[in-house]
């Protein structure tokens, strides 16, 4: 599998007169788990939309392995990048198995049936996300966390060098969250993939991610390792809360509080 490098230069984006992202300069390299953090409305999801080719930058360049994202055809892009969106809808009574198999769509030629390789990737993805026992259930009837695991399985089955995830564990229980984050870390470290995930839970970001990009009001406030980016100062400046760092047997834990309540 090719590895993928994202090269983002001077990217701006806005709707009408509302500027959402200002002059972003970023690089995402393979082999690392990147987290994008920031308060509501800081432009995290918009950045993922630009990176997945769903939106086009107002100005600046957004390249994936040297080629502008918009120059790739949709099928080609789908073989490079898998997306786990924040919101997903299932409009017809497809089964969990059908939905995960859809992840193989960009790899299956139009008049072909899924190959043994497709089937084994679907199988592995479902085992990794603990959705195998749900295979024949109708998507719409699942719980929120089970739906999210199905979408996660679909992205794994897509088997792309880059993965973009928007709050992939927001509805998952504690155990499935840790399993999913461990898998993302494994994909980045062991399989040299470029994995970029938006996270709200700073503790999760601190525990699993190699690099943190902290956005605030559409600009990069801080980027670098966990120690460089998640500090009492940055958290106060960006999120407006007080943070304490506590050493626990499970690693460093960030505890938050609002000092002066209005």
């Amino acid at each position: 599998m090719d590895s993928v490098i994202y090269d983002i230069k001077k990217v701006c984006f806005g709707y009408g007169n509302t500027r959402i992202l200002h002059d972003l300069d970023l690089t995402f390299e393979p082999g690392m788990l990147h987290a994008i953090v920031g308060p509501n409305g800081s432009g995290k999801s918009t950045l993922l939309d630009l990176m997945s080719g769903h939106l086009m930058p107002t100005s600046g360049s957004m390249k994936i392995s040297g080629t502008p994202v918009s120059d790739h055809s949709s099928p080609r892009l789908a073989r490079l990048i898998a997306l786990v969106p924040q919101e997903f809808d299932f409009n017809f009574p497809f089964s969990v198995f059908d939905a995960v198999l859809m992840g193989r769509h960009p790899h299956i030629p139009r008049f072909s049936h899924p190959s043994d390789k497709d089937m084994s990737l679907v199988d592995t993805a479902m085992k990794k996300t603990d959705t195998a026992h749900l295979a024949d259930r109708i998507l719409a009837e699942l719980s929120g966390g089970e739906k999210q695991r199905t979408v996660f399985a679909r992205a794994l089955a897509q088997n792309t060098p880059a993965l973009l995830l928007d709050e992939p564990t927001a509805s998952m229980d504690i155990r499935h969250t840790l399993v999913a984050m461990t898998e993302l870390k494994r994909l980045a470290r062991k399989e040299n993939r470029t994995v970029i995930t938006v996270l709200h839970d700073l503790n999760l970001a601190a525990e699993f991610c190699d690099r943190i990009i902290m956005l605030n009001k559409g600009r990069i406030h801080a980027q670098g390792t966990v120690a460089e980016t998640l500090t009492t100062d940055t958290i106060r400046d960006v999120f407006g809360v007080h943070a304490d760092f506590i050493d626990t047997p499970n690693g460093l834990h960030i505890s938050y509080g609002i000092k002066e309540l209005p």
């Binding site: 789908a78 997903f88 809808d89 409009n91 198995f97 859809m102 769509h105 979408v151």
Partner: protein, 346 residues
């Protein structure tokens, strides 16, 4: 593939085969029914003679009743039913709306307006096909207007399409009411045309509807997997490699053209395109590769049954749109309530 989905695939194939066979049997039975009853053996003989181009084995009167009167009408009803149900399936899949049908984008209002205009002004520049041509022109102009209003961003989002379809339809309905008001004594002709009928259809009508219907069906089937994936919403479908804007445009044009041809030949026959896709989704599931053919055959069966009832069983011809709802409605209610009660709650 899991064992269950393999069984589902086999089951879907079997259901489609059964529907196709039922349709074939129904065509033969329907051809035998009417003012002059004809035995099934004789019908098959006439068909064989017709194919060979010779006519010697059966009564020439029966031969001409079968080949010149009944078959064109019956097969036109079959094609229109097939086309409307396939178009309805595509519209529901594209617009992600269970209330969508072949006429959601105003194709029917456009056709109605065109036909009513032809009837009001007594236009005859294309001879007997003028009505058909005007209806088709009305339908396609409306379609392009709706796409033009909603498709400026190249994405054709379902919400925009439905909204512009509703607006354009509302304008045309007002125009239609005005034409009816102007038409005085000719209003009955317009009203009857609007309710749909297969009376005295010819081989040309059949060729047109079957040709466009089958070609359109092939296009829809070609994009069936993309249509499955588009049910996940635009963002997810794009990330799975579906060029959503382009696919939507192609499928909308195809399904609308099928509907436009059907409407121009038979008038406005509602219900088939709305209910049959739902009915078949209960039976064969949401996979469009199976759903499209199953809906096609289902629509053909419903429309042929309705047309045969009005032609050969009832003492007077009743508008076919009324019958499709009267037959299809209860069947739908029965299957709908059965599926609901079979499901767990929560």
């Amino acid at each position: 593939m899991t064992a269950v989905s393999r069984i589902q695939t086999a089951r879907a194939g079997l259901i489609i085969a059964l529907l196709a066979i039922s349709l074939g049997v129904l065509v033969v039975i329907a051809t035998g029914m009417g003012f002059i009853p004809i035995a099934p053996g004789e019908i098959l003989g006439a068909l064989w003679d017709g194919l060979r181009g010779a006519a010697d084995s059966i009564d020439p009167l029966h031969q001409s009743v079968i080949l010149e009167v009944r078959l064109p009408r019956i097969l036109t009803a079959v094609s229109v039913g097939f086309g409307l149900a396939v178009a309805g399936t595509v519209f529901q899949g594209l617009l992600l709306n269970p209330l969508a049908d072949p006429f959601t984008l105003g194709v029917s209002s456009g056709a109605a307006f065109g036909a009513a205009l032809a009837l009001l002004l007594g236009l005859t520049f294309f001879g007997s096909t003028t009505l058909c041509v005007m209806a088709f022109a009305g339908a396609t102009i409306t379609l392009f207007a709706v796409i033009g209003i909603s498709g400026r961003d190249g994405e054709l989002s379902p919400t925009n399409l439905i909204l512009s379809g509703v607006i354009v339809s509302a304008i045309l309905s007002a125009g239609l009411s005005f034409i009816k008001y102007l038409a005085d004594e000719r209003v009955a002709v317009i009203v009857f045309w609007l309710m749909g009928s297969f009376v005295s259809r010819t081989w040309n009508d059949l060729l047109l509807t079957a040709g466009v219907g089958l070609a359109g069906f092939a296009v829809c089937l070609y994009y069936s997997r993309d249509l499955n994936i588009m049910s996940l919403g635009t963002r997810s479908a794009k990330s799975l490699g579906v060029d959503t804007g382009r696919t939507r445009m192609i499928l909308l044009l195809t399904a609308s053209l099928i509907s436009a041809v059907c409407v121009s030949v038979s008038g406005i026959i509602g219900f088939v395109g709305l209910i049959i896709p739902h009915l078949m989704r209960f039976v064969v599931g949401p996979e469009n590769r199976w759903l499209l053919p199953a809906s096609g055959f289902g629509g053909a069966i419903l429309l042929l049954t309705a047309d045969t009832l009005t032609r050969a069983v009832l003492p007077h011809e009743v508008p076919i749109g009324v019958l499709t709802a009267l037959i299809g409605g209860p069947v739908f209610c029965w299957i709908f309530s059965r599926t609901r009660s079979g499901k767990r709650h929560g």
